[in-house]
């Protein structure tokens, strides 16, 4: 099966696997043949006609997405004949296209714009008026449709048919009246709908929350891992820091999937995609002692005081609440501080119930933190058992727990109305995390930590893949990575 074929594309030798098309083999070899309808994960209906190429010996040009690679085939994709055929295909796509690039969010990353500039037939031969259709139709919570910009590639209908299997979209009408639209009575609300904005090669399907926020050419892209669940989808993080007045001042503009054959393929879910856009809200940047006397501290002073406080009473009564949001680097420093040095016994890191959610067959996992697996490798969940929030509450009420060290977790989500009373009973409450929450308000010490995009590290996903993420943004204020805070405390507590 793994037979390799050799053919020539524009004078360049290309290797193809048996059964591959010319377009697939060329793409794999890094040669770009223009195309819209073919998508690696969605098949090749061959309706856009953009990938048309000249084949030696064939009477007419052929579409390379439906042309099986054969040994010795000679293909030309940039010869005058091939270019003329591609140019005609593009002209047909532009017959009814409104060319409203100035207002279109896809502008700057649009297949139509790219090939139009590339092929360079800037004067329209059309004398007729353009057909008009629906503009800014909100299809669901996340996606906006502009029917005039659609080029009928059918990627979207194939996605809802083959990938999300939710079948909300269809193609209605014929000729100039043909349009993509919702199936009557449906809304585009499947948990993977955001991917449609990525696969639509033009600006027909765009993100509602990204709409008019910032132009794509102002964005910076960083490779990262989604921290939304234990799948650990590979993503690109698009940040907007060059023009701070754009994007309502928020630094994080959007998340986009990054192809990974073994983890997430081409897709990500909507929870992950849209779940982190308030990244900059409620952020902590100052090292604080809040009780008994409120005062801003230096890291040195804070570490000194916290280290002393942790040793003040017997360690049996100290509980530590962490989560799978810690990176592998954080987990190691965490273990060295709390298990090896302090020898604490009460840990809470299980996702119950505040960090658990829906799961499905495609990508989403029940545990809504990225790295429980990294903790497991160090014994958290195997050698060391996790408490539940309820049993911890019981222990606090019974006076068995005097101190609680909370790392980026909100007890209020589990305890609800009881939380304030429970947290105020404690002799020592330390909150360490990137965002303010009830525990941060009631804490004796509040230590600001960097959030995922402001540090680099590794997450181990549920399959055991260790995946690295890069730093995309600068830390705010005095925030330090969790591992650095743990390491500092450990150095002071070591006998």
């Amino acid at each position: 099966m793994d037979k390799t074929l050799r053919f020539t594309l524009d004078g360049r030798p290309i290797e193809a696997r048996l059964g591959e098309t010319v377009l697939e083999a060329a793409t794999r070899a890094g040669v770009m043949i223009p195309h819209y309808c073919w998508h690696q994960a969605l098949g090749n209906p061959g309706n856009c006609r953009m990938c048309i190429v000249e084949v030696e010996g064939a009477a007419k040009p052929q579409v390379s997405c439906r042309l099986p690679a054969r040994e010795g085939l000679v293909v030309r994709s940039i010869s005058p004949a091939a270019r003329r055929a591609q140019c005609s295909a593009l002209e047909f796509h532009l017959v009814d296209h409104p060319l409203d690039c100035p207002v279109c969010d896809q502008s700057g990353e649009c297949g139509l714009q790219d090939y139009y500039m590339d092929i360079g037939r800037y004067k329209s031969a059309m004398r007729e008026d353009k057909a008009h259709a629906g503009k800014r139709l909100a299809l669901g919570p996340h996606i906006m449709l502009d029917q005039e910009r659609c080029i009928m590639c059918t990627r979207c209908t194939r996605f809802v048919g083959q990938v999300s299997k939710s079948h909300e979209l269809g193609i209605f009408g014929r000729g100039h009246r043909q349009a993509v639209d919702l199936v009557p009575g449906r809304a585009l609300d499947n948990p993977y709908s955001g991917n449609l904005a990525d696969i639509c090669p033009v600006g027909a399907l765009t993100d509602r929350d990204f709409r008019f926020q910032v132009r794509v050419w102002y964005l910076d892209s960083t490779e990262s891992i989604c921290p939304g669940c234990s799948r650990g989808c590979n993503i690109f993080v698009h940040t907007s820091t060059r023009r701070p007045w754009q994007n309502q001042g928020r630094r994080l503009a959007r998340l986009k999937p990054r192809f990974s054959p073994e983890v997430n393929g081409h897709w990500i879910c909507d929870e992950g995609r849209y779940g982190f856009l308030d990244f900059d809200s409620k952020r902590l940047g100052r090292v604080m002692r809040l009780k008994p006397v409120s005062e801003e501290l230096s890291w040195d002073r804070a570490a000194q005081e916290v280290a002393a406080a942790l040793r003040r009473k017997p360690v049996e009564g100290l509980a530590v609440a962490a989560s799978g949001a810690l990176s592998n680097e954080d987990w190691l420093a965490f273990k060295e501080l709390f298990v090896d040095t302090l020898q604490a016994r009460r840990f809470l890191f299980a996702p119950e119930p505040d960090q658990a959610g829906t799961e499905d067959q495609l990508l989403r996992r029940r545990e809504k933190t990225p790295n429980l697996e990294g903790g497991k490798a160090l014994g958290f969940g195997t050698k060391i058992e996790s408490l539940g929030w309820d049993s911890l509450a019981g222990d606090i009420e019974a006076g068995k727990v005097w101190g609680l060290y909370v790392i980026d977790r909100d007890p209020a989500q589990a305890w609800g109305g009881r939380s304030r009373e429970l947290l105020e009973r404690l002799d020592l409450l330390i909150y360490q995390g990137p965002r303010q929450c009830l525990a941060g308000e009631l804490a004796h010490y509040r230590l600001p930590a960097t959030a995922w995009l402001e540090e680099e590290g590794h997450f181990t996903n549920f399959q055991g893949n260790v995946q690295g993420y890069q730093r995309a943004l600068q830390p705010l204020g005095a925030a330090k990575p969790d591992w650095a805070i743990f390491a500092d405390l450990e150095r002071r507590l070591k006998p």
């Binding site: 690039c101 100035p102 207002v103 502008s107 503009k135 709409r211 132009r215 754009q246």
Partner: protein, 172 residues
């Protein structure tokens, strides 16, 4: 590159040059030549004999400056026939501006045919280099540099920033 020394010979001045008298006379010669040519041109023009104008001194700022027809002056944001701004907030001018002095934020327009419009549009005229690139970049001809205003001084840097109402004030 290694540093090298290149000797430059001093100009040699004779007695005539060192006395300056000859040079002063030469300079005055130029001045008077222009004076009499201009005088002649003005007289001939008055007599209706010759069309070529003589040079004049403009009493700026007591008299208004005369600007060329294509002079790039303060920006103006143009309006649609219904009076709303023509700008669709495409941000191309902001992108091309070499001085980075344009700041635009966009919003949804209530008019579905317009779709996108500028929510805020500020130009910092204290930073603008009056290159005109913004006018060239605009795909909808929404920005011109023909307000014919060149006196833009203000008492603070903040006052040099013109916002959308100010940029649209004198456009019909």
């Amino acid at each position: 590159m290694a540093m090298t020394v290149r000797p430059v010979s001093r100009p040699r001045r004779g007695l005539l040059e060192q006395s300056y008298l000859w040079e002063v006379a030469r300079g005055l010669g130029v001045t008077f030549r222009h004076f009499f040519i201009n005088l002649a041109r003005h007289c001939l023009r008055l007599a209706g004999l010759r069309a070529e104008p003589g040079a004049v001194t403009i009493q700026y700022p007591d008299e208004p400056a005369v600007l060329g027809r294509r002079a790039r002056t303060r920006h103006r944001l143009l309006r649609r026939p219904d009076g709303s701004p023509r700008c669709t907030a495409c941000l191309l001018c902001e992108t091309i501006c070499p001085a980075r002095c344009i700041r635009i934020t966009a919003e949804e327009s209530p008019d579905p045919a317009v779709e996108k419009r500028a929510k805020t549009f500020d130009i910092d005229l204290g930073m603008c280099v009056f290159c005109g690139h913004c006018v060239e970049a605009c795909p909808v001809d929404a920005i011109h540099m023909d307000a014919d205003q060149v006196e833009l001084a203000a008492y603070s840097r903040g006052d040099m920033i013109w916002d959308m109402p100010a940029l649209m004030r004198d456009t019909k």
